[in-house]
Symmetry: D2
């Protein structure tokens, strides 16, 4: 089987395993208070041009989302998210289990707009009995979104302004951030992300690491006591250096960006070639997740050789599916997939 169903099908960049092996028998302090974490944090702050930021390393995405969001909110406050947001759909109510409501906004493409956010907050406070509804206090966006779309710099800047005017925190889920920044439509830098948000994370699990997400906090209000929250939400890894070593390796020698670029190029190849074949897409994604609409008969054939994720039924004989590329994707596999689709059509 050749797997395209997700971007976490392989292990990690080989340099990480080498570094883990080299350092394996070293003794270090636990819980992220070792020198590898310190060095990795320093590299990340440099990459973000955010020397004053706090950087924390957590294990996985759901854990990171609930830790960041619940740390920021009081009990009666909620987080604005696209209805399709990961926190609203695919985390088994982890955020609600921490007591907080997802305040959902419908979007055509997984992206919130500054206007939607401002309107939501205005409507909340315009309601005579606003205390009977959850107070919006944070905005959650992901970049790329669940459907692969990305924010342009102007869009993110506008959202940032809206959040600051309305007194909301802006949090970006960057589980696939590398893939977003590497795609050809992108005009954002890591420094822009750090500037426009109050807190965001740089995904490792899907971008070259065995696991790990690096949280970057720039807003002073969100820095205080953050480690209590990590511990309470089960995210404080005993051997925290495992996270430090991984992010250190990824942020040395431009690895994080290079491997992201690899995935982006292959996704673009996939998109371009499928487009040439006349295939339509469920959503116009510029990043490493592609959602072509294919005949069910073709999909049934492909299933013998490839894995993909089912997305949605489009009509009686067509479905949208998801193919992902990642840091580990082999170009020959993309070529084989394209050839097979071409021959099946």
């Amino acid at each position: 089987m050749i797997r395209f169903n997700s971007d976490y099908t392989e292990g990690c960049h080989p340099a990480i395993l080498e570094r883990l092996s080299e350092t394996n028998m070293e003794q270090t302090a636990g819980y992220g208070e070792d020198e590898y974490c310190a060095k990795a944090a320093a590299l990340i702050k440099e990459a973000c041009k955010a020397p004053g930021a706090d950087v924390h390393f957590l294990v996985g995405g759901t854990q990171t989302n609930v830790t960041v969001i619940s740390a920021a909110l009081r009990h009666y406050q909620g987080v604005i998210t696209a209805t399709t947001g990961h926190i609203n759909v695919h985390e088994t109510g982890a955020l609600e289990a921490c007591g907080h409501k997802c305040l959902t906004i419908e979007t055509p493409d997984g992206k919130l707009t500054a206007e939607q956010i401002a309107a939501y907050v205005d409507a909340h406070f315009a309601d005579e009995s606003f205390e009977h509804t959850v107070q919006p206090k944070m905005v959650y966006i992901s970049n790329p979104t669940e459907v692969g779309t990305i924010y342009q710099k102007a869009e993110l800047a506008a959202i940032s302004r809206a959040c600051r005017e309305k007194g909301l925190y802006l949090f970006m889920d960057g589980a696939r951030l590398g893939y977003g920044l590497a795609c050809r439509e992108n005009d954002l830098t890591l420094a822009d992300v750090a500037e426009f948000t109050d807190v965001f994370y740089i995904g490792g699990t899907k971008v070259g690491a065995l696991f790990g997400e690096a949280v970057v906090i720039t807003n002073e209000e969100l820095k205080a006591d953050f480690r209590y929250n990590i511990k309470q939400r089960g995210g404080m890894l005993a051997k925290g250096r495992l996270l430090g070593i991984q992010f250190l390796t990824l942020f040395e020698e431009n690895r994080y960006f290079d491997i992201s670029a690899h995935a982006a190029r292959l996704a673009e190849k996939l998109k371009d070639e499928l487009t040439k074949m006349g295939i339509a897409f469920y959503v116009d994604s510029p990043s490493n997740q592609q959602f072509p609409i294919l005949p069910d008969a073709v999909l049934a054939e492909l299933k013998e050789k490839y894995t993909y994720a089912y997305q949605a039924r489009v009509d009686e004989s067509h479905s949208a599916v998801r193919f992902c590329t990642c840091w580990a994707t082999k170009e020959e596999n993309v070529d084989a997939l394209l050839a097979d689709i071409a021959s099946l059509l």
Copy 2:
């Protein structure tokens, strides 16, 4: 610095890193639904003589404790624990953050007794207004305990009977289970643990793995829908195979037990030699955590070369501290420590 402060100062057993490297570029399904997890689970069930058990792999101890306990309880139910229990003291209220109260019982040595448990439950239901207090529904014990003590087979059997008579689930936190089973006072087997408890976990983080805890569920009532709970509490690792590969490696070739025996032997050497020097202990621990009472002046000197964990002040000039051995401890370091203490006394 030579670190004795905890049993998670090194990486992992080298065989694990080898296996991770060998399998690194394989593509597998995510979230623990790969063949490595299946094989590891099979080995663990065999080792537990519990073919009908469910085995799940989680990342760390706090996460595992809250996932297991909150999965078992209704909102108004709580868990009985020694006051010194990890869940009551060292998890930043993670369990309370899931809505459940720790129902604490004072113990001299970190161990609950069947009598204490039965009396607690009887007192609850004897209270006219019992609905005004949290209903006890689970018992949490750790073996070894936080202070290194272990349960004898007869003690565990009695607790198990008490729990079944009173309608409570029995959960054993086995973060250091290997070290408990390997020490010379122990008369329990893994199969006994599986028989006497409803759910327990086999610690990997402290016993040879990079990270990971293997939850073994034998009670049918606790099996249903457990994976929802793992996901909700942030414990479902995307690359779940990392856990499968680690436990597979640990449970092949008797590794888990061999490396535990190594740590146990060195702890016993430490204990025996310190005893010969006339040193008293804060608690009589048979396992890999030793709590000698040392003169503050000696501790101040030791601090230049070794790390240890501070436990408690004993008198004006003496403190109890903790030294841990683990799978990775070098005998030469134990010898050096013993020699230094001897010369400092």
Copy 3:
């Protein structure tokens, strides 16, 4: 000011105050374990033709909703509700604060259908990674709904069948149940409601009481330990007899139904007369909440003399508003309102 904005603007049926005065200096047991609660429960079970039901009295609607729902659900389970459901909109996230997600379904009129519910559950379990989403386990409906619509017997029976087939509990919020059962389009009885649901409540706060909601539980699974939940959610009134006395008074001499009929008749008069004036309605409500669409200029004039609740802007010069009748509404006030609207149009 003449208030039509809600149905809780007055105190209570005078017979209740008389009874409270008569019994005021009696000494009784607390927490609902007095004879008045017992008698009221007996009358309610009789009215519901549900001799085996458990009846509990709570103070208010939000409290009742969270107590019932959180008592029924495990941590990873959620409740299906119309997007407009009270629990999803107007309880400041009280249910999420107990850890549970509202699983929302869009409706044109606030009413769920059996088909929607079955489809939701089927889609959940058809998803390969269903454990990544909240498991549906209960359905919440209100009758009348937030917009005054009511369930016909055939509709409720179908929902009930769907819930039982899919393994869901059915819970009806009956904050305004009296007004629903009393309106001319209704073909349900209290006994039908008891038969088709697993748990429901009979609203007192809006139907003649000072406060109070009577929870009726017919499903054995939901009966166990319910009083723990009441206490934990803050709903166990010390002087529980206040609730017993109120419901006893309401369910004697057919009062609950008679006063509901009064409100229903006045609402129908309001609806019929406004319709004759050519006024359209935001939603076709048969019950005590009416949502006419009126010119903003007319509303501005009315505001000097009457209160109403703002519902929604309809076009540049028209808005939908809500007028409520209740057990205490004076017919002369309805007549005055109708006359004023007629003259302003």
Copy 4:
């Protein structure tokens, strides 16, 4: 039966029922935004000499405790309480159900001291891994305590200073505050309580009202958005005026203090006379709860005619029980009880 088991066995002060009857058919705004609540709040602020305070009315004690405490705390923070504190023992884990841990301190008499509080906080921050334990942020005391003891002005002032030095909020549960302020050992005023605490409540349920607790917030940090918390925790009464009318009636004509004095006088009579009979007490309570130690044989006889609350077994043939007086207690009943005990001894 003559009930002495609790102080909520009767209804309410007759003046309250009169006022409820007089105002019954008035139409008012809901949710505490009516003029009766405003007037009652004004009277309470005057009585507290705290013109800048915010006053909110809730229904019951458990609800009030969880609302106040959870509003003040972040997720990872807990509340220091005596082990015997109501929130730790008799609220079915309501606070834990909101996510917060009770940080318990053992006391001989239910009263915390400034020294204990300071030491607790110092120990927390002195711990190297303090982030692994719940951060103390609030102190909960009740006055009178669960066992009837009261704080002297100097004690409360010292606690207040300790809290301010250590950055903790001080919250007083005043469910029985009137009875505490009225007893002969008391040297506190309502104004002192307002000055020394950050938030406290004046109990109505046990002191003359049908139900109701008046929360007084003096610390600006705790004022913001408090009504969201009331709504979320299920404490926002639809007909909020019921609370306003009751507290208005209690704080007019010195009623709250006069009826408290009545209860205090009868409790003192009970205590003095029992003491003269040579009866010892389980705890030396100066307030309306008295805990005599009586022979089991005497208690068995008394049970035929009186109710009391069981407190604890003292020796093989003696138990401590609780007798409460309240605003409604008849002196003739106290006299009868004393006579019966005297004759039974």
